[in-house]
């Protein structure tokens, strides 16, 4: 871990730099929106990464509830934390783009609202883990993750009947995107995925170490003779 981590940091940074160059210089300028559109490469890449991480969190939580495997719980915790970071990037870059293009910072559109609610649910998930005094925090957190996963489709459909303002997906479903833009977007997504993987990996190691220390300390406290403290 100690030796590999700095090398990976350099590699991922270089990749991110290359992706930024692609997004800011190489990618063609959009006809109507101009340079503002370039935030799209960060916005969409972060969104896909965040949704992927939240999906991993849900799967890991279900696995934990069934198997009670501590590694699954650590994966759930890590993916929720890193997912919240990327979801925050989505929620910040969205309004920055919307203000010049739509003329408003925010609107209660279906995608925006669902993302915001998802973000709120995962914040409450992290709060629960932080404030819990239970020895079975993982069980409580996993139960909350299941509730969150049940909630998201309901949020989506409850706002769906309003006309949606978010640009329709330009990828798949009859949308059209310049192949060069698609290329840049995929490079950026890949770079963001590498960053997310690196962060998760480092955080996972930290979490395992923290737990090991806690267990050792608990064991030592048990072994220590009574009068010595």
């Amino acid at each position: 871990m100690k030796r590999v981590f700095p090398i990976l940091v350099v590699l991922v940074s270089a990749f991110l730099g290359y992706a930024a160059y692609q997004a800011l210089v190489v990618a063609p300028t959009e006809q109507t929106m101009g340079n503002v559109q370039r935030i799209f490469y960060y916005h969409v890449s972060s969104a896909w990464t965040a949704f992927l991480l939240f999906t991993i969190n849900f799967v890991a939580s279900v696995i934990y509830l069934i198997r009670r495997n501590p590694a699954a719980d650590a994966v759930a915790l890590v993916s929720a934390e890193v997912g919240v970071v990327f979801c925050t990037v989505v929620l910040v870059t969205g309004p920055l783009w919307a203000r010049p293009v739509w003329g408003i910072w925010w609107t209660w559109d279906v995608r925006l609202t669902s993302t915001l609610v998802l973000w709120l649910i995962y914040l409450s998930y992290l709060m629960l883990r932080r404030f819990s005094t239970s020895s079975q925090t993982p069980v409580l957190a996993a139960a909350l993750a299941v509730f969150g996963a049940l909630d998201v489709p309901l949020v989506y459909f409850s706002i769906w009947i309003f006309r949606t303002q978010h640009p329709q997906p330009v990828i798949g479903a009859g949308g059209s995107i310049d192949p060069r833009m698609m290329h840049v977007l995929l490079i950026n997504w890949l770079a963001f995925l590498c960053l997310a993987a690196l962060l998760c990996w480092a955080r996972y190691h930290l979490e395992r170490m923290r737990r090991e220390i806690e267990e050792t300390e608990a064991l030592e406290a048990l072994l220590e003779p009574r009068g010595s403290r």
Partner: protein, 224 residues
């Protein structure tokens, strides 16, 4: 003992306790009254405006007041280790949950019954749509709040500063239900749109989360 017998015994015990102490209902009522008064003089709407905003105000007031009652649900069982006794007893966990959720439903429903005339008075409300539809909206909406509220109150028992933790857990999950209640109420009061979609949404929300709570409650009860 069967599920129904335990549920009934727990529910009647809670109702009797509440009838004698009136802790939850008094604090809820006073709290909701304060919210109504503060909202009323900070917005001071005319009859037309209040039809547009009343749905939101009513449900926000009921939501905040319900949290007051929900926080007391399990706190009562912590004294004298009642909850621990319950955990080791062979009684099914879900009957405890159903009894608590029904008890909360009754408390919040009583609150709503008492507060609605005040709302009508302060905001000069007169429904332009089919007002009988407010009854299913209130029933489904209240159940949506208390079923998750009871569950998350049990969860927040296991945290530091649990009184603050409950709304933090409950509100994000309740957003679709709140949206349904508020929009259904506004649609009925203004009479411009049909509330049917929102009532169906509330019913779906209730079914989904009631099942989820029943499946997961035992885990939360046993988590020490």
């Amino acid at each position: 003992m069967t599920l129904i017998a335990v549920t009934r015994a727990t529910l009647f015990k809670d109702l009797r306790l509440e009838w004698r102490s009136k802790d939850a209902i008094n604090s809820m009522l006073f709290f909701a009254l304060l919210v109504v008064v503060v909202f009323s003089f900070s917005f001071d709407p005319n009859a037309e405006e209040s039809r547009q905003i009343a749905g939101g105000l009513v449900w926000v007031a009921f939501l905040f007041a319900a949290v007051v009652a929900l926080n007391q649900t399990w706190a009562r069982e912590l004294r004298n280790q009642v909850l621990d006794a319950y955990r080791v007893s062979p009684a099914p966990a879900n009957s405890l949950f159903i009894a608590k959720a029904l008890g909360n439903f009754i408390f919040v429903a009583v609150l709503e019954g008492l507060m609605t005339p005040l709302f009508i008075m302060f905001y000069q409300l007169r429904s332009l749509g089919p007002s009988w539809q407010l009854i299913p909206v209130a029933g489904l909406g209240t159940w949506a709040l208390v079923v998750n509220g009871t569950f998350f109150a049990a969860m927040s028992l296991r945290t530091r500063s649990r009184e603050i933790m409950l709304p933090l857990l409950l509100f994000p999950i309740s957003i679709p239900a709140l949206l349904g209640m508020v929009n259904a109420t506004t649609a009925i009061l203004t009479g411009e749109l049909s509330a049917r979609f929102w009532i169906v949404l509330l019913a779906c929300y209730d079914v989904v989360f009631t099942i989820a709570c029943l499946l997961l409650f035992e885990l939360v009860l046993q988590a020490e």
